[in-house]
């Protein structure tokens, strides 16, 4: 990555963090519902999404803010959605858990763990059938990889040569259960291999590494029209869903990963290499805070949907 794109990546990661910190704060004040934050996983979201082109489509899940913001979603409309307001991307009907934003290519978000894996094959089949260069990127967690749909989706995508980049965000947790309590498998990549699909595991807290691996994977999918599985190894630094005291988390594991906070890592690297001054970095953070202030104002000013919306958009 060039220093410019690295700085852009930092900006995006800081924006995502600011967005989630803001929501956590609003939640504490009773001004917004609880959410599943992606704090600690920003490098995975930004690294992958920055490797995409605008015609590519993204499917995500309950932990979607990073993917949406990395893709350019408007923080105000996201917050409005979390607050159940009319100007949310889904008119307030989704809330935080299944935000789709078709206009920026984030489609069919499902909060059923595994749901996105089942839908991605269909989106890719449309792409393959109707033409175009775009590929499909499907984000899912290590928990989703325990669901049978993981197996079914990968098998079908490999068999039918569907242009999907599967991105398993392996953040070590599945809600309140540690990954080690759910599978003996250390990585999901061999599972893809057993179904005839190539894959790779990458340090998910290093945005450069993620971006590089994703760019290579995207190019391969685009060229071969075959699926690929990328595993980003990262960590969920906050709880599963706000509020969550993380009392069940091993403090030393948490500390260790806090020491590898992807934003701190990137900022340090940029400062160390003289690509960013401390003042510039602070300015980035200040800008993000400013954006969030406007976003909150926008979201809070947005009206709730009306009674007539209760039964609207059920049927086409």
């Amino acid at each position: 990555m060039t220093s410019d794109t690295l700085i852009q990546a930092l900006e995006r990661m800081v924006l995502i963090r600011a967005y989630e910190d803001t929501l956590v704060g609003l939640h504490g004040q009773g001004r917004a519902a609880g959410t599943c934050t992606s704090v600690g996983q920003e490098a995975s979201a930004v690294g992958v999404v920055s490797a995409l082109s605008s015609e590519d489509l993204i499917l995500t899940n309950h932990r979607s803010a990073g993917h949406l913001l990395a893709r350019g979603a408007d923080p105000g409309r996201l917050m409005a959605e979390v607050m159940g307001k009319r100007d949310g991307y889904c008119k307030g009907k989704s809330g935080s858990l299944h935000i789709a934003a078709k206009e920026i290519g984030v489609v069919l978000t499902s909060t059923i763990v595994g749901g996105e894996l089942a839908l991605a094959t269909g989106v890719a089949l449309s792409r393959a059938t109707l033409g175009g260069e775009g590929i499909v990127v499907c984000f899912f967690g290590d928990g989703a990889a325990c669901e049978g749909r993981f197996h079914e989706s990968l098998n079908l995508a490999a068999l039918w040569n569907l242009p999907i980049l599967y991105v398993c965000e392996n953040n070590q947790w599945q809600a309140f259960v540690h990954r080690k309590e759910t599978t003996l498998a250390d990585s999901v990549v061999p599972q893809a291999a057993a179904l005839g699909m190539d894959g790779k595991s990458v340090d998910g807290n290093d945005v450069e590494a993620v971006q590089a691996a994703a760019a290579e994977a995207v190019a391969a999918v685009r060229r071969t029209r075959k699926p690929f599985l990328l595993e980003t190894r990262t960590y969920r630094l906050r709880g599963h869903f706000e509020p969550d005291d993380q009392s069940y988390v091993d403090p030393s594991e948490l500390e260790q990963w806090r020491g590898r906070d992807p934003i701190a890592v990137l900022r340090a690297r940029l400062e160390r290499d003289g690509l960013l001054s401390m003042g510039e970095a602070d300015a980035i953070e200040a800008r993000a805070r400013g954006i969030m202030e406007s976003a909150v104002a926008f979201a809070e000013a947005s009206p709730y949907p009306g009674a007539e919306d209760l039964t609207r958009d059920v049927y086409a």
């Binding site: 789709a100 078709k102 489609v107 094959t121 449309s126 109707l130 749909r149 079914e152």
Partner: protein, 320 residues
């Protein structure tokens, strides 16, 4: 009019709709093997055998439907829908609403069920009421080849997910089917016989029991009106209510279990909206609260038969 079976009527509807609209495609375990003429006419990419995995078949259909295709999937037997409930109910049924209208899901799910082949409760379970109860879905269950063809054409053209159930017991029964593009609109019941004394409402196989019962009742001077629902959701409330307001008596008949079945819905509807016209208790004749047995005589005993329908209707009219 040519005659054909329900199975052939489904094939004919598929062929016509695939010809009309290049975005229609068919997927399922063995669809390409069993419908070779479709493969020959439309090519393998539009008629796809799949791995044995109902969930991903339905999910693929939902994802494809939301992004420009109109998939028809054959999930074979209704009990296998249990493996695809998330994709049908939570995705296809809800994601339009959840997303504030960003997506539509023009897809059709085919499945067979019902007594006839002695295949037992894991191939025969009339679970259509699950989908009637769930938001965002439409549900169809025809009683004859002409409706099967016409309703399937309508289902494929509909922009919503449609569950299309065919009755195993009717699969190979011949019936006349009109030539040409005879679409049967969703949501319209058929009045198969008019009558002023009692209303018999049914769908699928048991429609025929109602028709037989009506003929025998006529011999006894009782005029039964026979309504074939055809579509279970949206339900043609008008046709049902108009009839019961006329006859004052209702017998609802289906093979599915009683509790929370379509018959419960119709009885409730009438008790709400045609109460003033009702002259007698509503009667439901349904399958028992039991899985479907494989044994032939038990399987037959599972299904409400013409004699029972006749006797129930007669009981209502005669005030027994």
């Amino acid at each position: 009019m040519p005659t054909m079976t329900v199975t052939d009527a489904v094939s004919a509807a598929l062929a016509e709709e695939m010809r009309r609209d290049p975005t229609v495609l068919l997927m399922g375990e063995g669809v390409a093997t069993k419908r070779l003429p479709l493969v020959e006419e439309f090519g393998a990419p539009r008629v796809r055998n799949t791995p044995l995995a109902e969930g991903i078949i339905a999910g693929t259909a939902a994802g494809a439907a939301a992004t420009g295709l109109r998939p028809v999937i054959d999930l074979l037997f209704a009990p296998f829908l249990t493996y695809a409930m998330d994709e049908i109910v939570n995705s296809a049924g809800k994601l339009r609403y959840i997303s504030g209208g960003q997506f539509a899901f023009p897809m059709v799910v085919l499945a067979q069920t019902g007594a006839g082949w002695g295949v037992g409760a894991q191939h025969n379970h009339n679970n259509e009421a699950w989908f009637v109860h769930s938001p965002g879905l439409k549900v169809v269950m025809p009683s004859n080849p002409a409706d099967a063809k016409g309703l399937l054409k309508a289902a494929i053209r509909d922009d919503n997910p449609v569950l299309f159930f065919t009755d195993i017991g009717l699969a190979y029964a011949d019936g006349p089917v009109p030539d040409g593009d005879a679409v049967v609109p969703l949501g319209k019941a058929a009045v198969l016989r008019e009558g002023a004394d009692v209303t018999l409402v049914s769908y699928a196989k048991t429609v025929h029991g109602c028709v037989q019962a009506a003929a025998r009742l006529a011999e006894a001077g009782i005029e039964a009106e026979v309504i074939d629902l055809r579509t279970l959701k949206p339900l043609d409330e008008d046709t049902i209510l108009r009839s019961v307001r006329k006859t004052g008596r209702l017998v609802v008949v289906h093979e599915a279990s009683r509790m929370c079945g379509v018959g419960a819905e119709i009885a409730a509807l009438v008790a709400e909206k045609a109460f003033g016209s009702l002259r007698a208790p509503v009667v439901r004749l349904t399958g028992p609260d039991a899985p479907a047995p494989a044994s032939y005589p038990l399987e037959q005993a599972f299904v409400p038969q013409a004699e029972a329908i006749e006797s129930a209707a007669r009981g209502l009219v005669e005030g027994r």
